[in-house]
């Protein structure tokens, strides 16, 4: 399996240290991403999806840290590399785009220069050469009038344009993996669709794998080939996205799929009461014992309160972490 | 616990100063200025005179205690006046905006441009020395920081959802300012006010040192320093003890200000509970 995998995360545990105690914010998370594959991590706030992404980029800062597990890129462990080695990976092999591009772009530097910097830094290009390639990069992300836009500062661009610039920076050096953390949450619906198309087209053309992080199950299922669902620090279900909506296996995923009002359901079924998931999302310091979903689960039994389920292979492919998976 | 330590040390220092002031008549060994006796002049600190005596044979310990009364009263009351002026102007300016905001802004800038001590000096020159005029002078001259803080807080708070909600519920402007804005800006304002009391005590000392504050023979810490300046080499205890009183009280107020900020935040309150 690891023969073709680009990134492999194995038994990852991320600790949050608070008040002298370490809480496992993420525990036992394993997944692989093949070359050129699109993989999604879905979950609610505090489920650990974003810090998992940050740990791959070695961007975790105290009080967060890697507690256990291995992260491999092309079979080589990267979780303990030194600062200089990590810097070489970032941008060149793995790059990342964030929810709010305004905070990730330097407000005092023209966007063209920020793109060109990548070529100078990672490929040793001259500034003149790099500036020329920056214009090309903007053409690739479908920014109109790129020759003028390279001179613009981030605040002069709309949200969609800024995210395009971020994508141009992230893909400048042809990385093998693009991590996108809620890349379209801050954008308007119609702009979101365009940015997703852009990411998909560029990555397919270059063979770049995508790790997409989002709270939007529908969006990730639509965008990615495989999807991992996280809940309270655990990867509770990992499925090909074509199966996830049709036959969700974990009670949490089943609940989510059933609870979301989707276009067309009212016309088909009338205005029914939506199926609710009761209770609230637990905080990192208060994850319940046993199966972490048991207080909110509809098929919970006594055993779920005590024993944390292990990952079970599903016959049709994929994993689920539940004693009573359907 | 760092924040607890701030609060405790600050609170204890301020409490000592306050108790010293309140109980001065009972704690003092002698009357602060009636019991002058030239026979006992400039005795160094010792068993009988804990803090020593001054050039007229008055007990420094008793005078520092009585001085606490005056210094703390001046500091506290004048800062109250500053806070009320600053919060009223800043809150209304930030919330209402428009010409009133422009006016208050202009006034604040003018106040900031004039060194407050010079302004206070001018007021003292008109009103003449004395406790009342000292309080008025200090209370009218250093509200600009509070005002700016209140205005900035009001500006950011008024766009909060709960202020909008209060408007839709039919709350009047005054009620919104008092129930929605003021409680949420109080934390930093109390911190500024506590620091301001310290500042006012220092200003009182400076004015008294210049001879424009509390007139002899009444003791305030500043006037005591003022009187002691000629003997600083021959009888250093005359300066050390009032100076130390100012230092510890202002330090205590600063620590207390930091500690209060943490208490006034309801989120940190529940974390401790």
């Amino acid at each position: 399996m690891s023969g073709t995998s680009l990134l492999s995360v194995e038994n990852l545990r991320l600790d949050l240290t608070s008040g002298g105690k370490a809480h496992a914010a993420v525990e036992g998370v394993s997944f692989d991403i093949a070359k050129g594959e699109t993989f999604g991590l879905v979950g609610e706030s505090g489920c650990g999806k974003s810090i998992t992404a940050l740990s791959i980029m070695s961007l975790l800062k105290p009080p967060l840290g890697i507690g256990a597990g291995k992260i491999r890129l092309d079979g080589r462990e990267i979780q303990n590399l030194g600062a200089a080695e990590t810097r070489k990976l970032r941008g060149k092999r793995i790059s990342m785009i964030f929810q709010e591009p305004m905070t990730a772009l330097n407000p005092l530097s023209p966007v063209g220069r920020q793109i060109a910097e990548m070529f100078v830094l990672h490929e040793g290009a001259s500034w003149k050469e790099a500036e020329r390639r920056a214009v090309e990069a903007l053409v690739n992300v479908r920014v109109p009038a790129p020759e003028r836009r390279v001179k613009d500062y981030p605040h002069q661009l709309s949200g969609g344009m800024r995210q395009r610039v971020m994508i141009a920076i992230a893909l400048a050096c042809q990385p093998d993996l693009l991590i996108a953390d809620e890349p379209t949450t801050a954008l308007d619906v119609t702009v979101q669709a365009e940015i997703l198309d852009l990411m998909r087209d560029l990555c397919v053309a270059r063979g770049t794998a995508i790790l997409m992080i989002s709270h939007d199950l529908g969006l990730v299922a639509n965008m990615c080939r495989r999807v991992g669902v996280m809940y309270a620090g655990r990867l509770v279900e990992l499925r090909p996205s074509s199966d996830l909506f049709r036959a969700p296996s974990h009670p949490y995923t089943r609940g989510l799929v059933a609870s979301l009002p989707r276009l067309g359901t009212r016309a088909a079924n009338g205005q029914r009461r939506l199926q609710e998931i009761t209770g609230t999302v637990p905080g990192i310091t208060a994850f319940p014992p046993g199966c972490r979903f048991h207080p909110r689960c509809t098929v919970m039994t006594e055993g779920c309160k005590v024993t944390d389920p292990s990952a079970t292979q599903l016959p049709g492919g994929g994993l689920v972490r539940c004693h009573h998976h359907g | 616990m760092k924040l607890g330590a701030n609060l405790w040390i600050g609170g204890v220092l301020c409490a000592i100063a306050a108790i010293a002031g309140i109980l001065a008549p009972w704690l003092a060994h002698t009357h602060p200025f009636m019991d002058a006796n030239l026979m006992n002049a400039e005795i160094p600190p010792g068993r009988e005179y804990w803090f020593g005596t001054d050039g007229q044979g008055r007990d420094i310990y008793s005078r520092v205690l009585h001085g606490a009364r005056i210094s703390l009263t001046v500091g506290f009351v004048s800062q109250m006046i500053n806070s009320i002026i600053g919060v009223t102007l800043g809150l209304t300016a930030g919330y209402w905006g428009g010409w009133w905001d422009d006016f208050v802004n202009g006034l604040t800038n003018v106040m900031l441009a004039i060194p407050s001590l010079i302004f206070a000096l001018a007021i003292m020159a008109v009103l003449g020395p004395g406790l009342g005029s000292l309080i008025v002078a200090l209370g009218l001259t250093s509200w600009s920081f509070t005002c700016r803080l209140a205005r900035a807080s009001a500006l950011s708070l008024k766009s909060q959802g709960y202020v909008q909600a209060a408007k839709t519920l039919g709350y009047g402007d005054l009620r919104i300012m008092l129930t929605q804005l003021l409680p949420n800006m109080l934390g930093p304002i109390i911190v500024i006010a506590t620091l301001g009391i310290g500042g006012a005590i220092l200003s009182e000392a400076a004015l008294s040192f210049l001879g424009l504050g509390i007139r002899p023979p009444y003791p305030s810490w500043g006037s005591m320093l003022s009187e002691a300046r000629d003997q600083i080499t021959t009888a250093p205890w005359l300066s050390i003890f009032p100076g130390l009183a100012i230092f510890l009280t202002v330090l205590g107020l600063n620590l207390l200000g930091d500690g209060l900020r943490d208490i006034l935040d309801p989120q940190s309150r529940s974390r401790r509970a």
Binding site: E44, S45, P144, S158, G160, M161, D188, V189, T190, V191, Q192, A193, E194, L196, D197, D216, L217, G218, A221, N222, M223, R225, S241, L244, R246, G255, L256, S259, L260, P261, R262, L263, G264, T265, R266, Q271, R273, L274, Q275, E276, I277, T278, T280, V281 | Q160, G161, Y162, Q164, A165, K167, T168, L169, G170, Y171, Q180, P183, N184, P266, Q267, S270
Partner: protein, 332 residues
Amino acid sequence: MDEATAALLDVKDLAVHFELGSRLFGFGDMKTLRAVEGVDLHVKAGECLGLVGESGCGKSTLALAILGLLTPTRGRIILDGKVLDAKTDRGHLARTVQMVFQDPYASLNPRQTVRRTLADPLRLHGIANDGEVADRVADMMALVGLRPEQADRYPHEFSGGQRQRIGIARALILKPKLVICDEPVSALDVSIRAQIINLLLELKDSMGLAYIMVSHDLGVVEHMSDRVAVMYLGRIVETGPWREIFERPAHPYTRALIAAIPDPFLPDTGTARGVRGDVPSPLDPPKGCAFHPRCSLAIDACKRAPGPSLFTRPNGHAVSCWRADELNAAVA
């Protein structure tokens, strides 16, 4: 009685403009932001109107104007039979229209207990009897699914979903007839949203409330709304019964909005979006039909004149597009 007079809310030709830019001694560049321009809409008692649009389309400004918190530049708002103007009694207005806010964290005063948040408006509106106030607070908390004994807690002691319940309780405590829900679930965790949507629908039925449901989430709008209005750059471009809008969208923008929703059952190919580029700045809207630069169907006429005024067909469907009839014919 025609539809408009029977309506709880009737908005006619409403415009809200803002003068932006700083002027020093009368010099400097002043720009007019036409946040809302010529909006007509009505909401009947007990009805849910879905208001859809992207950032900068003017839906928030429209909401503020209906709440009486902004003075319109032009047009009029008739609420419960009374024209809304400077003389309108604020108290009466507060008892007629209320709002549920998007962010349950910023919309509750952190220094007030739930009891105070709910009891103060009651006292302000003339209920002085302490027993009655306490009863109504307890009843309201039970109604939104909170335990009455939680009333003495502060907002930070509640989760996001519970806070939104408090926000709903505050909006309903004065028993209004119309509630404007501004993206009421978009700031909540996904697994909590169904709880709040169900609650809002239950309350609508049990209290006979009318809603204006402002949202960009078309799934939520379709699920909750009786009628839908689509806004783009300050104007309503399409309005009609929910089924008409979602099954036979007539404006290219509405179609684009619907096409932009990712379908979880179909891996996306990214074709046929029918829209390109970003939403223009409302400070500098395109000439002619405001949507034409992004519209794949735009013709010369669209660049010259703003979209035609809404003409309501017998089924209640109205659209402002020069090519609507052609497109409709093509679909039919």
